[in-house]
Amino acid sequence: MNQNTNIFNKMMSMDRRWVFLLLIIVCVAAYFAPFSIPILIEPEVERVYNFVDTLAPGSIVFLAIDYDPASLAELHPMTYVLLEQCFRRNIRVICTALHPNGPSMAENAFLEVVDSCKVDKTYHGKQFMGREVVNGIDYCFLGYKPYPALVILGMGTNFRLPFPADYYGRPIDSIPMMKGIQNYDQVACVVNISGTSGTEYWISYGQGRFGFPLALGVTGVMGAEYYPYLNSGQIFGYMAGMLGAAQYEKLAENDGKAVVAMKVQLFAHFLIIFFIIIGNIGFFMDKFSKKREGR
């Protein structure tokens, strides 16, 4: 066995902990490095942004937050930026969380965005004055109920069927913004931000049964799975993973955690590609050496 083979064997049998260590160093260094990267906007993300941006003040967006802390990294930025866009433009929001861990995610997002909306900000050259976003007037959080399929079907008849009261125990009829709101007919669109298979329920039992415009925001792992629904017109817009969140932040001119994360992604991906190339060179050279030695 020659020396080259030893090197290639070593390349292929490198302790995986060196890979982890290098990845940690690269990610931390890229996070603290003061630079930014351009983010190209894809049409499926732009369609969600344009849809919400062209809604008349007072319209209602239904936001379905179906994720848990494990998917928070990719989906929280989407929720934040979408909620802020709605509240700044005086668009009202009805929210459900059909994942048991979803209510805490939704509450956390509402608290932070409500705080953020108190400050004056300028987006696309237009100044938005800070204002108090009020629970029950600007948004209504219905909370969690088990069996998402049945809840989605029930809300198609009346929101009051699965949710006689909101998450905080107030009867729906006593909530000012819910007066005259019966079902999906009164909402402009449904945006499902999800890290679970709940998305399939929204497609089949929600959009398929009631025909409302549906947009999705999903984790990267689910990313490739839902593109066919875009092609078939069952969803009008789509945000996949951290990249989708960063694109939406760029569109809204509201750079947040996703935009910062993308520069780290860039270098982490470079490193992973480098290791894939090294591994493949090792594999093929080892195979070639064995062939040459007649083994």
Partner: protein, 269 residues
């Protein structure tokens, strides 16, 4: 930052480090964090399901009856039927009576299937078939359609990919000749699909790590290191305590490594 918030954030930071320590190797800190996550999740889910499922959907609806009459004098006594079916599920724990649990399961599966089949068939099969069979907009290739030329190619790729992918899974004919070539194109199309999924999964996993860096930096370290932080003293205490535990663990690992290496060197003789 309130002391309570500070304490929970610090605990979050410590648990983050404990979970990532698994990248080095399995260890007691990781085990503790893992068990804590499982325990807290199970407890949280039980409480959430009780308060959002059983209480509003069953107990609240039987509320106007008397529990000592078995709620039979409630205005909605029929809610006792699903309650009884739910209780029957617990017979799974008895070897003798576990067969009874098949009744509620069969009812549940029956209802779920009845609701699911028409909607799933319509939305996940038929509509996808229509989308795959839609006509090709040839105008787009010459620059006067509603799509640009590059996007127009996707219509062709979708048709070829769908047919080739389906042929790959057709095993009633040997994959030879022209049929075999199309099947081979099918497997390449599938590989491209899996590659896209893998790439997105890598992005997702890196995202989780980046979010933890952001949490450790923005939500914990920046706030805690500020001298205006009213809990600065406590932070110093926790910081050095965690630092000491990490250093002690590394020292122990080194000691074990050196000890084992010495043993291995002695062994051959």
């Amino acid at each position: 930052m309130e002391f309570g918030t500070f304490l929970w954030t610090t605990l979050g930071a410590v648990l983050t480090l404990a979970i990532f320590s698994f990248l080095y190797k399995d260890n007691p800190f990781y085990k503790f964090a893992e068990h804590l996550v499982v325990g807290v999740s199970a407890g949280y889910w039980a409480v959430i399901l009780w308060h959002n499922g059983l209480v509003p959907n069953l107990l609240e609806r039987l509320r106007d009856g008397d529990w000592y009459l078995g709620w039979l004098n409630s205005s909605k006594p029929w809610y006792l039927i699903p309650a009884i079916l739910g209780l029957l599920m617990w017979t799974r724990f008895s070897k003798k009576y576990s067969w009874i649990s098949r009744w509620p399961i069969s009812m549940y599966i029956g209802i779920a299937t009845g609701v699911a089949i028409p909607l799933e068939m319509s939305n996940r099969v038929n509509k996808q078939l229509y989308a795959a069979m839609s006509k090709i907009h040839w105008d787009n290739f010459f620059g006067h359609g509603f799509l640009d030329t590059a996007a127009a190619y996707s219509e062709i790729i979708i048709i070829i990919g769908t047919i080739a992918g389906l042929i790959y899974f057709f095993f009633s004919k040997a994959h030879t000749g022209a049929f075999g070539t199309i099947a081979k194109i099918g497997i390449y199309i599938l590989m491209i699909g899996f590659g896209a999924s893998f790439g997105l999964t890598v992005m997702a996993r890196i995202s989780l790590f980046i979010q933890r860096i952001q949490f450790m930096h923005e939500d914990w370290a920046v706030v805690a290191f500020e001298e205006t932080n009213p809990n600065y003293g406590w932070f110093q205490f926790f910081f050095w305590l965690v630092g000491f535990i990490i250093i002690a663990y590394i020292a122990r690992e080194l000691y074990v490594y050196i000890k084992n290496r010495d043993k291995q060197m002695v062994k051959p003789s």
